[in-house]
Structure formats: structure tokens, C-alpha cells
């Protein structure tokens, strides 16, 4: 019963949206009202500002349209300031025109619906995940080595150390290992490989081993992870943070307050939002740059990763989320995709996945 009612509700809602004013119609209605408020000798000098989620292009369009609609030929015109504000409310968008004279301000408004805002979000991308490795010990990072001299190798960094596996006869077999124990709650780590060496970042330490791992690791204090913590600290303007990515000149930082902060190129704060987990990674694929982010859940619940883009510094989901059987404990860029580690709440094991984008849709 409820579904029938809800379907009716849905139809009605969509039907209402179809009859709502468009931006053009709203501009026309607003222009008419504003013209009625202007004196015969007055002309409007329009400035605009956008405090809605409407894209910048639409705003410029609105201003141009209103300017054109209010054009009039007046001898010895007296200019009055008109501030056009595009705002937003529960019903849709709102155009607010403030005619500011010396001793009074007159306000006119017009509402309109953005056709796309009422519809469900379409997801242009699909994330594909592939299991790379699973083990009992918490996995910090996994990297596939493409160096032909090492055959098909995979590096697995976990809380015990670094292990290199080689694929032999369809199975992964342990080939070399370096002990680098991490005794910490919520441990983090990162692998960076070059032609001849591997850099291991762990909380409070950065170690280097030869690519073939034939000699012990050379470690020194510091590194990108803060000692005895689960945060990163690159000793720069970001301070301590969980994750960070650069996108479109902005920096997206998951800070220790649990929120996602966006800073512009000058490191000035621009926006803050919630809704993501602490792990995200920038993926450059399908002709663009996107951020794969976990959901804002906790370690006791299953997790998901979805792809996002930023529109006016607001995250827009551009893929369906993919689920995991437990919390995602690590998410790193990897090539043109990402590497995710999740804990299986049922089995307690840690599994590493390779994430790639399907650009066909």
C-alpha cells in the first residue's frame, strides 16, 4: 500500500516539476516586476551573485537575460543599482532582485525549478573492483610491480612488514620479506616504488629497501605518517590530516575533525562538507580527474566507495557506490585507478582490491 501511495507521490512530484518555471521564464517574470518598479527615467545597473548550487554558467546567463530584458531607452537616464541574487530554497531556485535607491530598497522575487535537480542523479561511471590479496594481518598497502626483471610480483605492506610475492604457477608465493613491524591502532602505511628501490612509509618512519629486497631496510625517522598516529603530516599548511587530493586547482583534505575541507590554490578555505569517510584517492581516468571516496560510516558497518566530482566545490557523485563487506581501511591512488583495503566483518580478514573505472558508460 505504501508503495502505491509513494508511486503516486512520485508521479505527482515529477508532474509538478514539469510545470514549474524555468530560469528563462523566471527571468522574464522578474524583469516584468522590476520594470514596474523602476521610474520612467531610471535604468538598472545589474550586479549578480550566486548563493545557490546553480552552475556559474547559468548565473551568467541569468544576468545577461535580465540585463537584456530591462534594457530601455531613456533620455538622461538615472542609474539605480540592482543586485541580482540567485538563491535556493526547499522548492527550488529563487531569483531575488534588490533595487537599491538612496533611501529605500525594493525587492522582487521569482522562483524556478532546475529541471535536473529533481531527477535522480545519473551515474556516468562504473567502478570495477578486483580482489588482489587477502590475509589475516592488517594490510596497509599493496602494489603490483611491473618491472620485467622481477616477473609478476606483488608487494604487500602489512603491520608485520613488507613481503614480496611472486606468481609461480598461478599462485602467489612468498619471495622476500623485510620486517617492519607496526604496533599501533588503526595502522597506516604506503608503498612507493621506483626502478631500483622501494620506499615504505609507516607511522613516524620512512624506510628504503632495494627493489629486490636483498638487504635490510634503511629507515629514518619522519615520513609522511605521524608517529604513533593514523594521520598524515607532511609538515606543510595542511597540518595533520587523513587524506588529501588535488582536484582542479583545489585541495581536498579529510581533516582530523572528520569533515572534508576544500582549499583553493592559495590554501584559503572555500568549503566544508560531510558525507565522505576519511579515505579518498584521486583517480585520473576516462579523460578526467575524479575522487574515489569511502562512505561516512564506522568500523562496525560495511562500507562503500563511490566516485565524485566537484561542482562549485560541492561533491557530485558520478558513480554508483560499490560495497565492501566491512570498513575500508586504506584507499590509495594506484596507476589510473586505486587500491582499496577492506576488512571483512564476517571473517575478520583483510582484503586488498584494485579499483578501476569503466569508461564505457
Amino acid at each position: 500500500m505504501i508503495r502505491a501511495v509513494a508511486r503516486a507521490f512520485l508521479l505527482l512530484m515529477i508532474a509538478a516539476a514539469a510545470h514549474a518555471d524555468t530560469l528563462d521564464e523566471a527571468i522574464a517574470a522578474l524583469a516584468k516586476r522590476v520594470s514596474a518598479r523602476l521610474e520612467a527615467s531610471e535604468t538598472a545597473r545589474i550586479t549578480s551573485r550566486n548563493i545557490s548550487s546553480l552552475p556559474t554558467a547559468e548565473v551568467a546567463k541569468a544576468q545577461t537575460a535580465l540585463t537584456r530584458a530591462l534594457q530601455r531607452r531613456v533620455r538622461n537616464p538615472m542609474q539605480v543599482d540592482l543586485i541580482l541574487t540567485i538563491s535556493e530554497n526547499v522548492r527550488g531556485y529563487l531569483l531575488v532582485a534588490e533595487i537599491r535607491r538612496e533611501n529605500e530598497t525594493v525587492v522582487e522575487m521569482a522562483e524556478f525549478q532546475a529541471p535536473s535537480s529533481a531527477a535522480p542523479v545519473r551515474a556516468p561511471f562504473t567502478i570495477e573492483s578486483k580482489l588482489l590479496w587477502e590475509q589475516e594481518t592488517p594490510i596497509l598497502d599493496v602494489a603490483r610491480l611491473s618491472d620485467s626483471t622481477l616477473a609478476d610480483s606483488m608487494l604487500v605492506l602489512d603491520t608485520a612488514g613488507l613481503v614480496r610475492y611472486e606468481r609461480r604457477e598461478g599462485k602467489w608465493e612468498r619471495a622476500a620479506a623485510v620486517e617492519l613491524p607496526v604496533v599501533i591502532r588503526d595502522p597506516r602505511g604506503r608503498l612507493e616504488t621506483s626502478a631500483d628501490s622501494i620506499t615504505i612509509q609507516e607511522p613516524g618512519t620512512a624506510c628504503t629497501v632495494p627493489i629486490k629486497m636483498t638487504s635490510p631496510a634503511q629507515c629514518e625517522d619522519g615520513g609522511q605518517f605521524k608517529a604513533t598516529r593514523n594521520t598524515q603530516d607532511l609538515h606543510d599548511w595542511r597540518g595533520e590530516f587523513f587524506s588529501s587530493a588535488e582536484l582542479g586547482g583545489d585541495s581536498v583534505v579529510a581533516e582530523v575533525d572528520g569533515r572534508i575541507h576544500i582549499y583553493d590554490g592559495a590554501h584559503a578555505p572555500q568549503a566544508v562538507f560531510d558525507g565522505w569517510g576519511s579515505e579518498f584517492a584521486m583517480i585520473a581516468a576516462c579523460g578526467g580527474r575524479h575522487i574515489a571516496a569511502t562512505a561516512a560510516g564506522d568500523a562496525a558497518s560495511s562500507d562503500s566507495i563511490a566516485l565524485y566530482e566537484l561542482a562549485n566545490r560541492t561533491p557530485m557523485r558520478v558513480s554508483e557506490p560499490i560495497g565492501f563487506p566491512g570498513p575500508v581501511t586504506a584507499l590509495w591512488p594506484a596507476g589510473d585507478g586505486a587500491m582499496a583495503v577492506a576488512r571483512n566483518l564476517s571473517t575478520g580478514k583483510y582484503a586488498a582490491y584494485s579499483l578501476t573505472l569503466d569508461c564505457s558508460r
Binding site: M1, I2, L94, A118
Partner: protein
């Protein structure tokens, strides 16, 4: 604003998803009693009774639709949707509207709700938008008086026990026209302070308690969920009578550093505003100035002023705001002092009770004891007139926050809420 819009859109999408059968990962479970505590003490859910206490009014508007329904309901976008009336049309003379009653709607005593002729005539020649809006308001809820004098409703829950201002138990209406709710019952404890609610939650006595806006960001404990709803409360300064001259009120408003209070005391939960209604509802709240101008405030005051200041000292949200306002005001030469007797200015929380500006203003005018807005008037003009006539100074719009047991699903749609027995406590 944008994330608020997204939130409302997401909420709408969530509704859509449910309605279209796009279930979440787990299916809802029937049964269980949801135990809730709240600060407000509501005397009655009778739609005709409009409480004087803002908190009680807000709570009443929140809970009343569970018991008493309207012909028309507002969706999350403030648009009227069929509810107890399935359609409406005007009569031949275009002087009245005829609303078709939904069929097979059972009252709480099991009898059929059947208006004469299966329809309700509303003689009114105003535009239908205004009529629908009014019919969606709480005051227009459908009630039927039972033989024992009690009120019967059609909502998904019926009142099983009511202790005015103290406690209530709502039990599921098995024959609800929209399908029995998942919960067997909801038990509500009223008049509980935030501290008491928190401690009851800690010991597992309840599943849902209110939290202060500033605590929305606090680290949540294991097994809890923090739910925040878009700003549903306006914190404002209300002046009693005409004792305080307009320049003093204006000076006080200009002296308040709203941004500092929002950032520090409210932990950026909410928004500053000079409007009574939040931006998510109207979109034009920015037209009401709210910036601090201490120099202008001092210019408006010919001499130092002293006003008696009233606020709920037990309210952990209001009290620090009030203390900070007193510090700000002192810079402009206004002393806000606590005292007995007549109170010149109070810091109050005004509820936003509807997703329609006019309906919300109607309730606010009742609280502020001024004339209600004209249905034909533009909501901006009405709000402006209300602020000017009552002398109220809006300060902030705060979200409503709840701390929920992890068992609680689909909060805050009470007809959709269910308790997950598998979730960790």
C-alpha cells in the same frame, strides 16, 4: 546552503528510493517499541491547541501528524500532496473547492472516516495554492470526537496513554490506510533536560534523544548515530511589549557578533541570519541584515542602556549564547542583566514547524503574539512585517540533532522508522 539543498534532495531521493522499491541493503523489521526523550513538554496533540511555549509547539507539530492527518500534506519541497484528500476540484460557480475524501480510511476506533457525500466542500474563492497550503497546516488536521469526548484521528499511530507534559505512548494503528507502521509503539518522555537525556541514552534506557547543535560534531560513541536535520529552529531575541525603543533594539542587534557565536559556541552547526525563516525554506534570508556593526550600534545609543535579560539557564545551547550576547552588548553600551520582575528581552528558540513559509510564519505569529500573516501576502513581506511589528531579532538557524541508537533505522520518518535487532547496542 548547498549541502542543505543536497540534504533535502537526498531526503527526497531516499523517499523515492523506498517508494520505488529500491530497498537498502537490509529489509525493515516489524515490531518493537521506540523509546524517545525530548526537552519539550507538550500538553496536548489536539490540533486546535496552539502551545505558547516554542519548544512545545515545535514538538507538537512534529508528533501531531502521526496521530492527526490533514487533507493535504506538504512534501520535502513544501509542495502540497494528496493525503486524506485524493483530489480536488472547484465547483461550477468557482466559489468553492470540493475535496474528494480518500476511501477506506479508518479512525483509531476502527470506524470508517466518511465525510458526508464522500467529499469535503471548502467555500473559498482564493487561489487554490493558498487553500491547499492552509489545509496542509496542523490547524486543519482531521479530528473526530469520540463518544467519550476524546479525539480520534486517522494517523499511523493512536494515543494509548497521554500524561500532559510528561509522557505519552503511541501505538501502531493496525488499520492505517497507508499500511501499519513498522514499530509497535513509540514511547515518549517529555520535559527531560539534555543532560538527563544523555545519561538515559548512556544506560540504554532510550533509543533516541536530542542533542545540542554544537554536539553534532562531537565524536560519537560506539553504537550511536548522530542525525541532524536541516535548520528547524530560529534562535532569536524577543522583546516584551513596547518597552524597549527601536533604536536600542537595533543597537543590540548590531552589537552581536553572530559569526563568532556560530563558529565557537555552535561549532559551525547552523547559520547566522537576520531572518526568521531559514534560507533552505525561503531562499531570501540574506535580505535581512545580520552583520555586526559596533560603531553604528554605539551611534544609535545616546546613553548607556540597561535591560533585564531572560533565558533558560538550564538550556546548554541558549545559556552560552546568552552570555556571549551580554558580552557583545556591553561593548555597545547595553548592559543585559538578570533580574526579577518584568523581562525586557528574552533569548528564545522558535521552531520552524512546516516546509511552507506561510504555515511556518503562522505558527511564529502565534508564538510572538502578533497578527497572523495574510494568506495572500508575499512571504517576504509578511516576514518583514512580522519582524518589524514584533521587534524580534533573529540570530541563528539551528539544526535539530538527535543521538540515535544504532538500532534505529529510517529516522526521522516515524512511520518508516524500524528497530534493527541485529545492530550493536
Amino acid at each position: 546552503m548547498r549541502r542543505t539543498a543536497l540534504r533535502s534532495i537526498a531526503a527526497a531521493n531516499a523517499v523515492l528510493a523506498l517508494a520505488a522499491g529500491l530497498e537498502a541493503a537490509r529489509r525493515p523489521r516489524y515490531g518493537g517499541e521506540l523509546r524517545v526523550e525530548m526537552r519539550a513538554a507538550v500538553a496536548s496533540l489536539d490540533p486546535a491547541v496552539v502551545p505558547d511555549d516554542p519548544a512545545a509547539l515545535g514538538a507538537q507539530r512534529q508528533w501531531m501528524p502521526l496521530v492527526f492527518e490533514t487533507l493535504v500534506s506538504l512534501d520535502n519541497h513544501g509542495r502540497p500532496q494528496p493525503w486524506l484528500a485524493t483530489s480536488w476540484t472547484h465547483d461550477a460557480a468557482r466559489k468553492a473547492w470540493i475535496f474528494q475524501a480518500r476511501k477506506n480510511v479508518k479512525l483509531h476506533d476502527g470506524s470508517i472516516w466518511s465525510p458526508p457525500g464522500g467529499s469535503i466542500m471548502v467555500p473559498d474563492d482564493r487561489p487554490i495554492e493558498q487553500i491547499l497550503r492552509e489545509l496542509a497546516g496542523a490547524r486543519s488536521a482531521v479530528t473526530v470526537k469520540a463518544e467519550d469526548g476524546s479525539l480520534l484521528g486517522t494517523g499511523p499511530f493512536r494515543i494509548a496513554r497521554w500524561e500532559a507534559g510528561k509522557a505519552a505512548t503511541l501505538v501502531a494503528h493496525d488499520q492505517y490506510w497507508g499500511g501499519r507502521p513498522f514499530l509497535d509503539s513509540i514511547s515518549v518522555q517529555m520535559g527531560r533536560s539534555l543532560a538527563d537525556q544523555a545519561s538515559d541514552f548512556q544506560i540504554g534506557k532510550v533509543e533516541a534523544v536530542e542533542i545540542a547543535a554544537r554536539d553534532l560534531r562531537a565524536p560519537k560513541q560506539r553504537g550511536t548515530t548522530i542525525a541532524s536535520m536541516q535548520p528547524l529552529e530560529t534562535v532569536a531575541l524577543q522583546f516584551d511589549g513596547g518597552r524597549v525603543p527601536a533604536p536600542v533594539r537595533q543597537a543590540l542587534s548590531l552589537s552581536i557578533d553572530r559569526t563568532a557565536i556560530l563558529n565557537v559556541l555552535l561549532q559551525k552547526q547552523g547559520e547566522t541570519s537576520g531572518a526568521l525563516l531559514p534560507r533552505w525554506l525561503t531562499g531570501y534570508s540574506f535580505l535581512f541584515p545580520s552583520e555586526r556593526d559596533l560603531a553604528k550600534a554605539k551611534q544609535l545609543l545616546p546613553a548607556p542602556q540597561s535591560l533585564t535579560f531572560g533565558y533558560d539557564r538550564q538550556d546548554p545551547v541558549i545559556r552560552p549564547i546568552a552570555e556571549r550576547i551580554a558580552v557583545n552588548a556591553s561593548e555597545a553600551g547595553i548592559t543585559l542583566r538578570q533580574g526579577a520582575g518584568a523581562i525586557d528581552v528574552r533569548l528564545v528558540r522558535l521552531p520552524i514547524t512546516a516546509t511552507d513559509a506561510w504555515l511556518a510564519l503562522q505558527d511564529l505569529t502565534a508564538l510572538l503574539k502578533v497578527a497572523p500573516p495574510s494568506p495572500a501576502a508575499n512571504s517576504y513581506e509578511s516576514e518583514k512585517a512580522l519582524i518589524d511589528s514584533s521587534g524580534v531579532i533573529p540570530l541563528f538557524h539551528l539544526p535539530r540533532g538527535w543521538m540515535l541508537s544504532s538500532r534505529v533505522r529510517n529516522w526521522p520518518r516515524f512511520d518508516e522508522v524500524w528497530l534493527d535487532v541485529g545492530a550493536a547496542q
